[in-house]
């Protein structure tokens, strides 16, 4: 994984993040270097407090690093203002959160179409067509008119995955995507992520506590105390 192709989806160079300033400043991340190529399916593991969430927020452009370079699809994000970061995030990055995070006032179909609606400003038939196609892929075409809270936890997570894919993102960030699900639903959700990765070569970075889940990924990145202490390729299952 040492090769740094110029078509890297994600390129982190010496990323540092600290909170506070002056004497009370505390550094959470101490110079992270990381590259993700197109089509990779990687797990980010590490104990609580190791900086996983902080790193994920930086990669997801929800937060800015204190120092270092962060490139998404070869675009340097340090030069962008808030609106620029937001646009890039909307177009290139899909999020799957632990707690599903659908918007309850909207139906499954509308939730999936939401990133397109936000980007284009007005609804149109094409975005709902795409939304229905993705719901079909995650096996929820019959539930498309249900409101978010009328769906089970596993179903909500599948809707969230469809939503994360709707913009054809370069990178999908999943934060404990199966953390809140029973074993059966968790397995289904994982298989779905894996299938999307295989079929569409979408890059995935999955944060997890679950060693069995990590073991099913192609690459395992281990973060301890704000440093990457291990980064190993893992034979595909």
């Amino acid at each position: 994984m040492a090769e740094t192709s110029k078509h890297a989806v994600l390129h982190l160079a010496n990323i540092r993040k600290s909170y506070g300033s002056g004497e009370i400043a505390s550094e959470i991340l101490h110079g992270i270097n990381l590259h993700l190529q197109r089509g990779e399916f990687a797990a980010l593991i590490g104990p609580s407090g190791s900086g996983k969430s902080t790193l994920l927020n930086l990669i997801g452009l929800l937060d800015r690093p204190t120092a270092g370079q962060l490139r998404i699809d070869d675009e340097d994000t340090g030069q962008l203002d808030d609106t620029g970061l937001t646009r890039l995030r909307g177009q290139r990055i899909g999020f799957v959160f632990q707690h599903h995070h659908l918007i309850p006032a909207f139906t499954a179909e509308e939730n999936v179409a939401m990133p397109m609606l936000i980007a284009q400003g007005h609804p149109n038939a094409a975005m709902f067509e795409r939304s229905r196609l993705l719901l079909d892929q995650v096996g929820l075409s019959e539930r498309k008119h249900h409101l978010a809270n009328q769906l089970s936890g596993g179903q909500q997570q599948r809707v969230a995955i469809a939503r994360a894919l709707v913009m054809n993102p370069s990178l999908v960030l999943a934060d404990e995507p199966t953390g809140n699900l029973d074993t059966h639903s968790a397995d289904e959700v994982f298989k779905l992520l894996r299938a999307v990765n295989r079929q569409q070569h979408t890059t995935f970075l999955i944060v997890t506590h679950d060693p069995r889940l990590a073991a099913r990924c192609d690459r395992i990145i281990e973060l301890v105390d704000g440093r990457i202490i291990a980064d190993r390729a893992h034979p595909a299952e």
Binding site: T86, L102, I103, A105, P115, L117, A125
Partner: protein, 406 residues
């Protein structure tokens, strides 16, 4: 979702619909505020229009009088001690009044022009003897300035030779009725006997006791003003312009022009301060409505912080988030104003039903004008948007990382 609706609008409407109870309560709150404002405005303008109408029932909008006669010293040098005695004002005629009448009638602001020959006299009938004001008029013209014909309680408005119309108070004092004779005598001894053809009630006791309407020619000969008039009364289309037009006439003709605004300065001041105090009340109601909207939206921003975070993560910009909450404020204001206008209309109907004169006729007629509803709707929507500024800013500035973590 309709394709013409922008994302921000769709989200604003969905958020309001989802927070059903909260939205309903604040719309009702805005509605009550708007209802009070609309009701107060309608009541006040109805009341004031009625007061002005009553005040002007026996007054012209503008009265033109000959310029004051001023005593000028024949010699005045720095070294002479000078004491000028003010001159007594004679009853005089307005120069060239026919020409002036024609000229004023061509002004678009002026609705009617009525020349009047007016002066003091005594009305005598049997043993009764009353000081009166003779008012010589051309009835058709005069009626367009002061609606005398409508105010008759008996007889008709007929002031030909030997005919007079008197007020109900004077009629009572003299014990006269329609058809009775009346002797009018002026200070210099001219006198005439006239038949009472009508009795009027202009709603003002002084005027009812004093004014005796007679033909212009009769008045001219009784007052020794042959061919002349002592004043010209004007009616305007727009009452509020009276002072401006009076000044313009004064500067163009040199005549003294008294507008009703100047003649009733205290009354006008009272009306103005009434309007000012109602504006103050309206302002504070609008302010409390704004705070109501703002507090509901602030709570809504906190309740929805997770959703705001998700929308931000999915690419919604700060501007988009701000607009969603500004729109919610505007929508709440708009629907509140519709509800408020409906409430105000019901209040007014009830008021018309309850507030009646002794004879059962409505005290005065008021209604909700469509323009007032339109102003209320626009105003309330704007107030809603203004009230949403702070909550919308909070929503936009929310850190998505913190918001999502919840």
């Amino acid at each position: 979702m309709k394709s013409w609706q922008p994302f921000e609008w769709i989200a604003a409407v969905r958020f309001l619909r989802e927070g059903r109870m909260q939205s309903l309560l604040i719309v009702i709150g805005v509605g009550v505020g708007v209802a009070v404002i609309v009701f107060m405005s309608a009541l006040l303008s109805g009341l004031q229009a009625n007061l002005i109408k009553r005040t002007l029932s026996s007054q012209a909008h503008i009265s033109l009088l000959p310029p004051e006669e001023i005593a000028r010293p024949q010699q005045a040098t720095e070294h002479t001690a000078l004491h000028l005695q003010k001159q007594a004002q004679r009853l005089r005629t307005i120069d060239q009044w026919q020409t002036l009448r024609t000229r004023l009638e061509s002004w678009p602001e002026i609705a009617a022009v009525s020349p009047v020959a007016s002066g003091p006299a005594f009305a005598v009938r049997g043993d009764a003897n009353k000081a009166v004001t003779l008012v010589g008029i051309e009835p058709d013209r005069y009626n367009r300035v002061i609606t005398l014909a409508e105010r008759l309680t008996a007889g008709q408005l007929r002031v030909g030779a030997g005919e007079a119309v008197i007020g109900i108070e004077l009629a009572k004092d003299l014990g006269a009725e329609v058809g009775d004779k009346l002797r009018l005598t002026t200070a210099d001894g001219r006198s005439d006997t006239l038949i009472v053809t009508g009795l009027f009630d202009l709603g003002n006791k002084g005027v009812n006791a004093r004014n005796v309407y007679i033909g212009l020619r009769t008045a001219q000969s009784l007052l020794d003003l042959v061919g002349g008039v002592s004043s010209i009364d004007l009616a305007l289309h727009d009452l509020d312009l009276a002072e401006n037009i009076a000044r313009r006439i004064n500067s163009e003709t040199g005549l003294t022009a008294d507008s009703w605004i100047k003649t009733n300065a205290q009354f006008v001041t009272a009306l103005t301060s009434q309007r000012v105090s109602s504006n103050v009340i309206r302002f504070f109601i609008a302010l409390s409505v704004a705070f109501g909207i703002a507090s509901v939206l602030v709570v809504s921003v906190i309740q929805r912080s997770k959703e705001i975070g998700i929308l931000r993560a999915m690419g919604a910009t700060q501007t988009q988030m701000r607009r969603i909450f500004l729109l919610q404020g505007g929508i709440v204001g708009f629907f509140g104003s519709l509800l408020g206008s409906l409430l105000a209309w019901s209040f007014l109907m009830l008021w018309q039903l309850l507030a009646r004169n002794a004879d059962g006729s409505p005290m005065f007629v008021i209604g909700v004008e469509p323009a007032l509803v339109a102003i209320a709707a626009t105003g309330a929507s704007l107030v809603g948007i203004l009230a949403a500024l702070l909550p919308a800013r909070r929503a936009a500035k929310l850190d998505p990382v913190v918001a999502i973590r919840g």
